[in-house]
Amino acid sequence: MSEHILSSKLYWTIWAVLICLTGITAWVSTVDLGPLNTVVALLIASGKALLVVLIFMHVKYTSEKLTRVVIISALFWLLILLGLSLTDYFIRRPGLAGGA
């Protein structure tokens, strides 16, 4: 396992970027974009998650196959969660609810 040392300056920069993005999320929620509000909020959130995973969790600098496998399976599992939940939400109609 080779250690990859990152400068603390980079960490602080990323931290500042994350704080800014949080501020933007809060500000955007006060602007009425219609259904786009959710889309923008989710995009910013995904960007923040990406920064944390790549920089703070050192995934950008890893060559470990195992790390990559874990990241890819985690994303795949997230897709299962979202995808199969949406089979309910996209086709849920009151008259067609299952059971009683």
Partner: protein, 545 residues
């Protein structure tokens, strides 16, 4: 014999290397951490069991005479929370897995020994919070924490209990992480993936579920806590939330959690069945891949818990079909164990009795699961005792049988002592009889329409309920017996030699109990798993008892 005693007394091993409370609480030895887990899950098992007995006592008569409805709600909730999160989920992986994973792959310890100790402290911290919640207000949401009741209506300690389960979740995540890295990186030379004991395959699959599923329940419980404490509108429909979202998130973890409970026990059964029929497991590759298959497909079926909750009918159809699919790998395992017995020289030692119990009871639990996966039948039996009986056949008939079988099988390795075999067989028999007497009547009760989670019931259900309560007291005796004779054997049991079952597997190639770093020198593996055709029969090496 006298010389054996003095030699064993002189030899240094993980139990006598250091003494004192500090040497245990700060240990990073996976074997000692396994024993810390053993003591704590046993403690929680008896608390959870105590609640179960109170529930059964209340249901002895149709009227609500022992406790009132509110107390009854708290009883079944605490029974569920403690048994699921503090016993069933950690039982086999954190005790037997912790002890055996490094031994079985020929390693000195797990990949991250300190993280392993941290996992136990997470477990204890979560446990203390839940116990404290239990003593100050209790919890009445059911172990499922369903919203909006849990976030808007319950007057009990939901926040504290939720945080306790949240913290306990990290012990699961850390254990899973440790196992995955250890199995990938620390196998002895020659121990290829295709030579891995099935116990390790099933623990690998379990670890995948722990690592990828547990964060979802953890964050879901945090959302419950946030909604309850700060009135965010996530699940509460009056604030724009969606209560079914909670059920989706909760069962996304909690259905696979059933496989966290059952897969490790399946691994135990694979080890026991091969050893006591002296044969290589039938269809090794299929059994190994069935574990991985269960771990993956297990994540595609969660909404079968929500068929009558008001979700989309089309989604229900999809989940119903997928739920049938997950039965396939489980069935492969049952058939392959049975085929392993064929023409084997089968001996009915205590661990094997538990393995037989597992196979029979798990099959009944699994088949009744298919009843519940069928949309039409599920509507009829949802929230009845049929469901209660079904999952107890899986969790108690399956997981606990496997756990007890494994405890007996590896006890000589863990303690260096033999348990009394005839008492062992008697206890296994009592557990099996008590279990069936407790839970079989509940299938009938449920089918007749008795709902779960009520403290009273119509008088015509009494006979079956009396049978069930009688069974639960027999079961309690069956569970107390092993604890008594295991403790007894630590002092008075005959000394075990290194391999009392003449079993295959690296854990039997070191001394009993093993030294702190497991092996004097790193073993080199040149054989397939379960090479029983190359080992002498059990009778030829059987120690006089």
């Amino acid at each position: 014999m006298a010389t054996a005693v003095s030699i064993a007394a002189e030899r240094e091993h993980y139990l006598n290397k250091e003494y004192g409370i500090r040497s245990w609480l700060l240990t990073t030895d996976h074997k000692r951490i396994a024993l810390l887990y053993l003591a704590s899950i046993t403690f929680f098992f008896f608390i959870g069991g105590f609640f179960a007995l109170l529930i059964r006592l209340e249901l002895l008569t149709p009227a609500g005479d022992l406790v009132q409805a509110d107390t009854y709600n708290k009883l079944f909730t605490m029974h569920g929370v403690i048994m699921v999160f503090f016993f069933l989920i950690p039982a086999v992986p954190a005790v037997l897995g912790n002890f055996l994973v490094p031994l079985m792959i020929g390693a000195r310890d797990l990949a991250f020994p300190k993280i392993n100790l941290l996992s136990w402290y997470c477990y204890i911290a979560g446990g203390i919070l839940v116990l404290h919640a239990m003593l100050t207000g209790g919890l009445d949401t059911g172990w499922t924490f369903y919203t909006p009741f849990s976030t808007a209506f319950s007057n009990t300690a939901v926040v504290e209990a939720g945080l306790g389960v949240f913290i306990n979740g990290f012990s699961s995540i850390l254990t899973g992480l440790n196992f995955i890295v250890t199995i990938h990186r620390m196998r002895a030379p020659g121990l290829t993936w295709s030579r891995l004991p099935l116990f390790l395959w099933s623990h690998y699959a379990t670890s995948v579920i722990m690592l990828l599923g547990t964060p979802v329940i953890a964050i879901t419980l945090v959302l419950v806590v946030l909604e309850r404490a700060f009135h965010l509108g996530i699940f509460d429909p009056t604030r724009g939330g969606d209560p079914l979202l909670f059920q989706h998130l909760f069962w996304f973890y909690s259905h696979p959690a059933v496989y966290i409970m059952i897969l490790p026990s399946m691994g135990v059964v694979s080890e026991i069945v091969t050893c006591f029929s002296r044969k290589r497991v039938f269809g090794y590759y299929f059994v190994a891949m069935a574990s991985i298959g269960i771990a993956v497909i297990g994540f595609f079926v969660w909404a079968h818990h929500m068929f009558v909750a008001g979700m989309s009918l089309y989604a229900a159809l999809i989940f119903s079909i997928l739920s049938y699919l997950v039965a396939v790998p489980s069935a492969i395992k049952v058939f392959n164990w049975t085929a392993t017995l064929y023409k084997g020289s089968v001996s009915f030692s205590t661990p094997m009795l538990y393995a037989f119990g597992f196979i029979g009871l798990f099959t009944m639990g699994g088949l009744t699961g298919l009843f519940l996966a069928a949309l039409g039948i599920d509507v009829h039996v949802t929230d009845t005792y049929f469901v209660v009986a079904h999952f107890h056949y899986i969790m108690v008939g399956g997981t606990v049988m496997g756990y007890l079988g494994g405890m007996h099988y590896w006890w000589p390795k863990i303690s260096g002592r033999l348990y009394p075999e005839s008492w062992g067989r008697l206890a296994a028999l009592i557990v099996f009889l008590g279990f069936n007497l407790t839970f079989f009547p509940q299938f009938i009760l449920g089918y007749l329409g008795m709902p779960r989670r009520y403290w009273q019931y119509p008088p015509e259900f009494q006979v079956l309920n009396v049978l069930s309560t009688a069974g639960s007291t027999i079961l309690a005796v069956g569970y107390l017996l092993p604890m008594v004779y295991f403790l007894w054997s630590m002092r008075y049991g005959k000394l075990a030699d290194d391999n009392p079952w003449n079993a295959a597997g690296l854990e039997w190639k070191t001394t009993s109990p093993p030294p702190t770093f497991n092996f004097e020198e790193t073993p080199v593996v040149t054989w397939e798993a379960y090479n029983y055709n190359e080992l002498p029969a059990l009778e030829e090496v059987r120690v006089e008892r």
